[in-house]
């Protein structure tokens, strides 16, 4: 049973006179425990696609099923609950709430679910131990480093044990050291907790931590590569694919000799 099933979705933006086809008939599935990346050049529709899956946006055509539930037909009020229970988000700018301490930031989704204090505390302890932020819980986001902030964001996404963890350019604002750390944590979560992860990035290094990568270009699924060897090899594959999408690589799929 697939965690996510995207079926023929299209998204049309804009005004009647200026229609933009952001996505065009995309279909794919993500199995439980997978670590999937979506890559593509700017404007390819990566974030739009992620937003569809994240139920933040609705497709013009087609449907999205998460855990066999058709989220594209749900009402707003129900969606809020759905997001809270099944989805976890990591944003590029972390979007931590500055008026909350780190502890409060992490446990916020559980508080919204009105769980008991004991459950909340035990989950909080577990997550903060995995992410190595147990010592920072009483601080405010302003008072910790950027890398730590991103880990807090990660903790907030994980604490509900989501069926699907969505990350939109999670390493976009990080330096390479912090980025590597975060990716290692994500890998660990994926392997230990069997959390399904879907991340969007345009950075090949970040993508190389995934198990499978979907490339989209101009709103369409362009290619798909699966990691079989080690990370370095996978990284090279990704670089090649990026070059191809850019219009000149070894796997030249698009006619350029006009």
């Amino acid at each position: 049973m697939a965690v996510v099933s995207v079926q023929h979705i299209s998204k049309v933006y804009g005004h009647r006179l200026n229609v933009v086809n952001a996505l065009n008939d995309i279909s794919f599935e993500i199995e439980p425990g997978e670590f999937v990346g979506i890559m593509g050049p700017s404007g390819a529709g990566k974030t739009t696609l992620l937003n569809m899956i994240a139920t933040i946006d609705r497709p013009t055509h087609g449907r999205v099923l998460i855990k066999d539930q058709e989220v594209t037909k749900m009402r707003e009020a129900k969606l809020a609950n759905f997001r809270r229970q099944y989805l976890g988000f990591i944003f590029q700018d972390f979007n931590l709430l500055n008026s909350l301490t780190i502890r409060e930031n992490i446990l916020l989704p559980l508080a919204l679910d009105k769980l008991s204090v004991a459950v909340i505390e035990s989950r909080l302890n577990k997550v903060s131990r995995i992410l190595g932020i147990s010592g920072l819980l009483e601080r405010y986001p302003e008072e910790v480093s950027i890398g730590q902030r991103q880990r807090v964001a990660c903790g907030r996404a994980m604490i509900t044990n989501p069926a699907l963890l969505l990350a939109d350019e999670p390493t976009g604002s990080l330096d390479s050291k912090a980025a590597t750390e975060l990716l290692l944590y994500l890998t660990e979560i994926n392997q230990q907790e069997k959390t399904t992860i879907l991340l969007v990035t345009h950075d090949a290094f970040t993508a190389s931590y995934c198990r499978r990568i979907l490339f989209i270009k101009d709103g369409q699924l362009f290619a798909e590569i699966v990691r079989s060897g080690d990370r370095q090899q996978f990284f090279n594959q990704i670089i090649d694919m990026q070059a191809t999408i850019g219009g000149g690589g070894r796997y030249n799929a698009v006619k350029t000799d006009l």
Binding site: A80, F89, L97, N98, S99, R156
Partner: protein
């Protein structure tokens, strides 16, 4: 081109400016109405009870108060607007508009806004001024036809004054622009949410704040016990310091309350995990913590302003109630006159064919006497020594029943009731048993006549039969004794007071009333009470010749109607002015909170979008927002009202506890207006931050 931009800007920002504009327009309308009252030909020649009412001075003061407040409000709001638009200034600078041009742009914009405010204000003013004047007349209890008139003078003056004000504000705005550096403009100092855990100082300052507020309230409540103590120790200058201390305690305490006490309180909430980790509460509390920190000074200012406003209108309302009851106490019948005036007044009545509805005569005696009451205010108690008016119980009961609807008093032969002309609050503190003066069981009343049984004062009252003014000045102290005792008193002076109640028709008989009023002002006969020093006791005598040494006088004839009309007119007028000023204060302070909150809303959009993405529903967010804004609005109002209540109670102690119903009504209206501001702000705030994540677009 720049001109078009200016105009378009002003129009586009109409929504931002709406609250500001409404407050400005209200100020202009009220200002206009005040001037038109001053200059209205009907109102300026208004007469009540034969006296011309002079509005000029009071209205002038009211206008100055309004202007001062408007200057403050305009400056505050405009500083705020310019700050909010820093980035816009930056972008304009980058695309090559010079600062001079930008300042012209801003100058023009504020002029346009000002112009719109003045135009709307004048238009409304012209239409409303008649209504306002009619309201004024109604409140003053005067029936005069008001013609619809456009007061050109009022238009000229209002336009001039406010035009000048807006011009100055325009200058202020345009000079502000030169102070910013381009870097700051483009990257507006991201109002980084600086959150701190409460430190030791927070706890200290917060505790001090609460202690100061509480201490101020305590001082206000115990003024009649503590102030005399201070007086004894430091003299009468202590009074001023005492009152000043109350004021300062409240002002500083309120600041500490908003800066620290609320933080302590919210921190306490945070520790209470059962409640805190429950739904949106966590979010509301932590956001409130941030908002109170950021808005502490504004909220403090609003609290003080609203306390002042509520106190002002509350005390005006209280004084109105007090005045009404005073009038009733002082002149409890339509017409009261002394024996001396009997022939003249009755001749007057006969001339105008007036037949009284009812007529009563009572007699009283004046004799040397003495008694002493304890007062917490006066170290030696309240001492009455010398001429004492004595009245018989049956006559007293009869007058009390007919004039004040009081039940009959029963007296044993040796008992007496003392009536004194001073607030009873000063003789005893009714609210606190512990602080009641040690009332001796026996308050002996000595009437200097041999053969009288020893008398005791068993009750102290304040209501004089026929009011205090009809008796002689120095002896506005009266004792009531049982009839048998009264008969046995051989007084130096025995006199009579006549009381007449008139029919409605006669009361409205204008020539009669006018003649009567004239007579009271020019009565030829005047009685004097002369003390003849004697041993062992003084004796008294009435004379109508002005004595060489000072003699006591009294009011010979009291009439109710004209006095009542005059008092009504005066009080109505003050209440009217107070209410209008209060209205402006409310609108301005309300819109200040509203503007600040709505500008914060812009900064909060991202936060609420994030919350929605991690699974907070729109209903939950709405709930949290309404709660937060309610707190922001409610706390200043609650605290301000509390301050005002203590201030009004303090005043009411000096006014002998008049009824406070009118005060509550007026304060209630005030709070209602604030609630409307709250609902509006919460609604707009919610609309700004609580947008759906996506909108289903249709093609």
């Amino acid at each position: 081109m720049l001109l078009r931009l200016t105009f378009k800007n002003a129009m586009n920002r109409a929504r931002d400016y709406a609250a500001y504009l409404i407050a400005c327009v209200a100020a202009i309308v009220v200002y206009f109405c005040f001037i038109s009252i001053e200059t209205d030909p009907v109102l300026t020649h208004l007469k009540t009870a034969g006296e011309r009412l002079i509005f000029g001075g009071t209205i002038g003061m009211a206008r100055i108060i309004i202007l001062l407040f408007v200057v403050f409000f305009l400056a505050y709001a405009n500083l705020f607007f310019v700050k909010k638009r820093k980035q816009e200034i930056g972008i304009l600078s980058v695309i090559g508009v010079t600062k001079l041009q930008i300042s012209f742009l801003f100058f023009g914009e504020s002029l346009i806004i000002g112009l719109i405010a003045i135009l709307i204000g004048l238009l409304l003013g012209v239409f409303l001024s008649k209504l306002f004047a009619m309201l004024l007349l109604r409140m003053m209890g005067i029936a005069v036809a008001m013609p619809f008139l456009i007061s050109w003078k009022a238009i000229r003056q209002t336009t001039g004054t406010f035009g000048f004000l807006f011009l100055m504000i325009g200058f202020l705005n345009s000079t502000l622009i030169f102070r910013y550096r381009l870097v700051d403009l483009l990257h507006p100092t991201r109002m980084a949410k600086k959150m701190k855990h409460p430190t030791g100082w927070t706890y200290l300052w917060g505790t001090i704040g609460i202690a100061l507020i509480g201490g101020g309230y305590y001082l206000a409540e115990k003024i009649f016990t503590l102030m005399p103590m201070m007086e004894r120790q430091f003299g009468y200058e202590a009074d001023l310091f005492y009152l000043l201390a109350i004021l300062l305690f409240e002002i500083i305490g309120t600041l500490a309350f908003f800066q620290s006490y609320i933080q302590i309180w919210l921190q306490f909430e945070r520790r209470w995990k059962r409640l805190y980790y429950r739904g949106t509460h966590l979010l509301s509390v932590s956001n409130l913590s941030y908002r109170f920190r950021k808005n502490a000074k504004t909220l403090w200012m609003i609290t003080i302003l609203s306390a002042v406003t509520i106190t002002a209108i509350g005390s005006t309302a209280m004084i109105y109630t007090y005045g009404q009851s005073q009038l009733k106490q002082n002149i409890p019948a339509d017409l009261i006159y002394t024996q001396l005036q009997k022939s003249d007044v009755e001749a007057l009545m006969a001339r105008y064919h007036v037949t009284p509805k009812s007529k009563t005569v009572i007699d009283y005696k004046i004799i040397a006497g003495n008694f002493k009451l304890n007062s917490p205010l006066l170290q030696d108690g309240y001492q009455q020594n010398g001429a004492t008016t004595v009245i018989g119980l049956s006559q007293y009961n009869q007058m009390m029943a007919s004039q004040f609807d009081r039940p009959a008093t029963h007296l044993e032969p040796q008992e007496a009731v003392a009536i004194v002309d001073m607030p009873l609050t000063m003789l005893k503190i009714p609210r606190s048993k512990a602080l009641k003066p040690v009332q001796r069981d026996h308050t002996p009343l000595n009437l200097y006549q041999s053969g009288l049984t020893h008398l005791e004062v068993i009750r102290v009252r304040k209501l004089f039969p026929n009011g205090p003014a009809i008796y002689f000045e120095s002896i506005q102290n009266m004792v009531v004794v049982a009839d048998a005792q009264y008969q046995r008193i051989q007084a130096d002076v025995t006199d009579q007071i006549h009381t007449v109640n008139l029919t409605k028709k006669d009361q409205q008989n204008k020539p009669f009333m006018a003649a009567l009023l004239k007579y009271t002002q020019t009565a030829k006969k005047q009685a004097y009470l002369v003390t003849e020093k004697g041993k062992p006791i003084d004796h008294y005598r009435l004379t109508i010749k002005k004595p060489q040494q000072t003699g006591d006088t009294r009011n010979e004839v009291l009439i109710k109607k004209p006095n009542q009309a005059l008092a009504n007119a005066n009080f109505g007028f003050y209440l009217y002015i107070m209410i209008l000023i209060a209205l402006i204060f409310m609108l301005a302070t309300g819109s200040i909170i509203m503007l600040k909150q709505l500008s914060e809303a812009q900064e909060e959009i991202l936060q609420y979008q994030t919350l929605k993405k991690i699974g907070m529903s729109m209903a939950e967010i709405k709930h949290s927002i309404y709660f937060q804004i309610l707190m922001i609005f409610l706390l200043p109002i609650i605290l301000g009202t509390l301050h005002a209540i203590f201030a009004i109670r303090l005043l009411s102690l000096f006014l002998d506890n008049p009824g406070l119903q009118l005060v509550y009504i007026v304060c209630g209206i005030f709070i209602m207006i604030y609630l409307m501001f709250y609902l509006l702000t919460a609604k707009i705030y919610n609309r700004i931050v609580n947008r759906p994540l996506y909108e289903d677009t249709h093609y």
